[in-house]
C-alpha cells in the first residue's frame, strides 16, 4: 500500500515536471497569441462598450453601441450580404471535389500543370485578383461582355448593377479559392486506401458508383474542414469587395453598393472613415459572435454527414 502510494506520488510529480516542460515549450507561441491576438480581442470587446474618438480617449457608454447596432439598417443589410456571399460561396466545395476527382484520375497526364493552374489564384494577391476582375467585368470595355457580344448578348455592368453584383462577386470568390480547396481534397483522395476501390471493382462497381460510394464518404472529414474554413473566411470578406466596388469612399457611389457591402467593410468605414471606433468595435464583436455561432452549428450538423473511419 505505502509503496504503491509512493509510486503514485512520484508519478504525479513526474507528470507535473513533464507538464511544466510542456508549458515552457508552448510559451513563445502562447505568449505571442496572448499579446497579439487575445489581448486585442479583449480590448476590442471593452471598446465596444465605449464611445471612442478619432484619437483615442474613450468614455463608457454601456450598451449604447449594441442598441444602435440592432436598430441600424446598414448592419442588417451588411449581415445579409455577408451571409448570402457565404452561402453561395459553399458551391465552391462540390466544384472543388469534382475537379479534384478529375485530376486524380489514374493515368492523367500533366497533373502538376493542372494543379498549378488551379492553385495560381490562391497565391496571387487578392487586390490584384480584384483589380483584374474589375476590368474583366467592365460593362463597356470588359472581356466578359465582349465575349458575350460575340454570341449576341448585351451584358450588364456586372459589378455596378444591383441585380448581378453579388453573383459576379461570388464567381470571383470561388475562382480564387477553388485551388486551395482542390489541393486539400486531392490529398484527402490520395489517402483513401486503394484496396477499397479494388474491392468495389471486384463487386462490379463502376467509376461513378465508386466515387459516390467510396470517395465522397471517405472525403467527408476533409469537406467538413474545408466548409468550416471557407465559412469563416467568407464571413470576413473585405479586400475583394473593397477593391471591386471602387476603393474607399468612392465605393458608396456604386449603385450596387447596398448589395455588396459586407460586415467587415462596414466596420472599416466606421473605424477608419467616420471616426466612430467604439461602434466599429461593437460591429466586429457581433461578427465574432456570428462566426462562433455558425461554427457551433456546423459541428452539431457534422454528425449527420461526416464519416470518420
Amino acid at each position: 500500500m505505502t509503496t504503491a502510494r509512493a509510486a503514485h506520488v512520484a508519478k504525479r510529480r513526474g507528470n507535473r515536471t513533464q507538464a511544466l516542460w510542456g508549458y515552457a515549450f508552448i510559451a513563445p507561441t502562447g505568449l505571442g497569441l496572448a499579446i497579439f491576438n487575445l489581448w486585442p480581442v479583449a480590448q476590442t470587446a471593452y471598446f465596444s462598450f465605449t464611445e471612442w474618438g478619432a484619437f483615442g480617449g474613450h468614455t463608457w457608454t454601456g450598451l449604447d453601441n449594441y442598441t444602435r447596432l440592432f436598430a441600424d439598417p446598414e448592419v442588417g443589410r451588411a449581415m445579409l450580404n455577408t451571409l448570402t456571399y457565404t452561402a453561395l460561396g459553399l458551391i465552391g466545395i462540390p466544384l472543388a471535389i469534382v475537379f479534384a476527382a478529375l485530376i486524380n484520375r489514374p493515368g492523367l497526364r500533366g497533373v502538376s500543370v493542372y494543379r498549378t493552374a488551379f492553385f495560381l489564384p490562391v497565391v496571387t494577391m487578392p487586390v490584384a485578383v480584384a483589380m483584374l476582375w474589375r476590368w474583366l467585368y467592365n460593362g463597356d470595355y470588359g472581356l466578359v461582355n465582349q465575349a458575350l457580344a460575340v454570341v449576341g448578348i448585351d451584358g450588364p455592368n456586372w459589378i455596378a448593377d444591383p441585380a448581378t453584383a453579388m453573383y459576379a462577386l461570388v464567381v470571383v470568390g470561388i475562382w480564387s479559392s477553388i485551388g486551395y480547396n482542390l489541393i486539400i481534397f486531392l490529398a484527402g483522395m490520395q489517402a483513401i486506401p486503394k484496396e477499397l476501390y479494388e474491392a468495389a471493382a471486384m463487386d462490379g462497381a463502376g467509376r461513378v458508383r465508386q466515387f459516390f460510394a467510396i470517395t465522397l464518404p471517405m472525403l467527408s472529414p476533409t469537406a467538413f474542414f474545408i466548409s468550416i474554413i471557407s465559412v469563416i473566411g467568407s464571413l470576413q470578406l473585405f479586400d475583394l469587395v473593397f477593391v471591386m466596388t471602387g476603393s474607399g469612399q468612392a465605393a458608396r457611389a456604386n449603385p450596387a453598393y447596398a448589395r455588396l457591402q459586407t460586415v467587415v467593410q462596414l466596420f472599416y468605414e466606421r473605424a477608419f472613415v467616420t471616426n466612430d471606433r467604439g461602434y466599429a468595435a461593437a460591429i466586429v464583436i457581433a461578427l465574432l459572435v456570428l462566426i462562433a455561432a455558425l461554427t457551433v452549428v456546423q459541428f452539431r450538423l457534422q454528425r449527420r454527414w461526416v464519416h470518420y473511419v
Partner: protein
Amino acid sequence: MWKSARSGAALLCAALLATACAGGEQAGTDTGSPEKVTLSYGVWDATQQAVMQELATEFTKTHPNVAVDVQLTPWVDYWTKLKAAVSGGAAPDVFWMNGPNFQLYASNGVIKPIEEQVDTSVWPKPLVDLYTYEGKLYGLPKDMDTVGVWYNKTLFDAAKVKYPADDWTWADFKEAAAELTDPDKGVHAVGAQLTSFQEYQYNTIYQAGGHVISPDGKKSGYDDPKTIEGLKFWTDLIAAKQSPDLKTMTDTATLQLFEAGKLAMYWGGSWNVAEFTKNDYTKDKVDVAPLPKGEKQATIIHGVANVMSAKTEHPAEAWEFVKFLGSKPAADILGKKGPIPAYNGTQSDWVAAHPELKLQTFLDAVAYAVPYPVSKNTAAWQEAELTHLTKAWTGEVPIEKAATDLATGMNDLLAKE
C-alpha cells in the same frame, strides 16, 4: 481679424523677413550653444517630395542647428497612419493638413494653434478661413487649387461648337452639352460624376445660390431649394443622356472617359494640369475655361496647409519651419516645381509653365472662390452625401427627396459633433 496686427514690426517680421527674423529671434531666445534638433515633416504627395526636400534644405541654411526629415506617406494611408501616430503620441512635428480633416484635428487639440500674430492678407481669404477654428489660426496655407472646365477642342470642333467663353452661363453650358452629345460615337458632353463633390456638386450648389453647410457648421444646407437646384443641374444631364449613367461611371472613371475622347468636357481641378499635359491623347487637344455662371459665379477653393503637432518636442523650431514654409521665398520655390502656391503674387511661374493652356483661369477664379465646406467630422456627412445622392443619380429617387433625406441624415450627424 488677423489683419489688425498689433505692431508694424510683427507684421513685417512675419510677412517679409520671415527667415531673417526667424534667425534673429532664435539668436535672441536660444542663449548658449544651439542644440541640434531634427524636425519630422509629414507629407503625402510623392511628386512633391523633391521640392519639399529642397525647402527643407533651404530652411537648414538659415537654421543650421535644425535638420528636417521629410517623411512621405502615400495618400491612401496618410490619414489612417497619422491618426494612429497622433493617438500614440508619435505624430510628425510638422505635417500637411487638408480642409476636410482640419477641424477634427483642431477640435481634438492635437494640432497647435499659431500664437504669433501673422499677416494673413498674403493668402486668399477662403484658405485662411478654412484653417481657422474658433477664431484661432492653426495652419499656414501652402498651396491652393480651384476648379475649371477642361474641354476637348477636337470634339468641340467636330460638333462645330464654339469654345466656352470666359463669361459663359449655365444656359450656354446646357446648350453646348446638347450639341456635343453624339450617341452614335458614344460621346457624352460631360460626366456627372459622384465621387468628387469638390469638382462637381459643390460648385453648382454655390453657383445656384445654395449652400452645403451653414456658416456655423451646425446645419445642413441640402434642404435649401437652391442647393437642390445645384444638384439637379447634374441629374438633368444624366436624364438627358448628355452624361453617362452612374453604372458606366462606376465601371470606368470619368477621367478615363475624357482621356479616351468619350467626354467633351471634364470639370476638374488645377491639379489636373500635370495629368492632361502628360497624357498622349489629351496633351494637344485640351484647354480650360472658367466654370459657367449660374445665379452667381463660384468655384470651390481648397489648399493644403502646414500645421504643427500639439505634442511636438521642439515647438519653437517647428513654428520657425512652418513660418518659413508660409513665406514668399518658400512659395517661389514651390511655384516652380509644385502646385499653385497659396502666397499671393507668387503664382506666375506656375502659369508660365504651360503657355499653351489658359491656366490664368484658375487664378482669376480665386476672386469668386468659395471655401471647401467642412465641419468637425466632415467624413461622416461626406459618406451620407454618397449614400443618399447615389439613389438620385440612378434615378431611383427624385433629387428633391434624396436631398432632403440627406439633409436630415447630415443634421443628425452634425448634432453628434
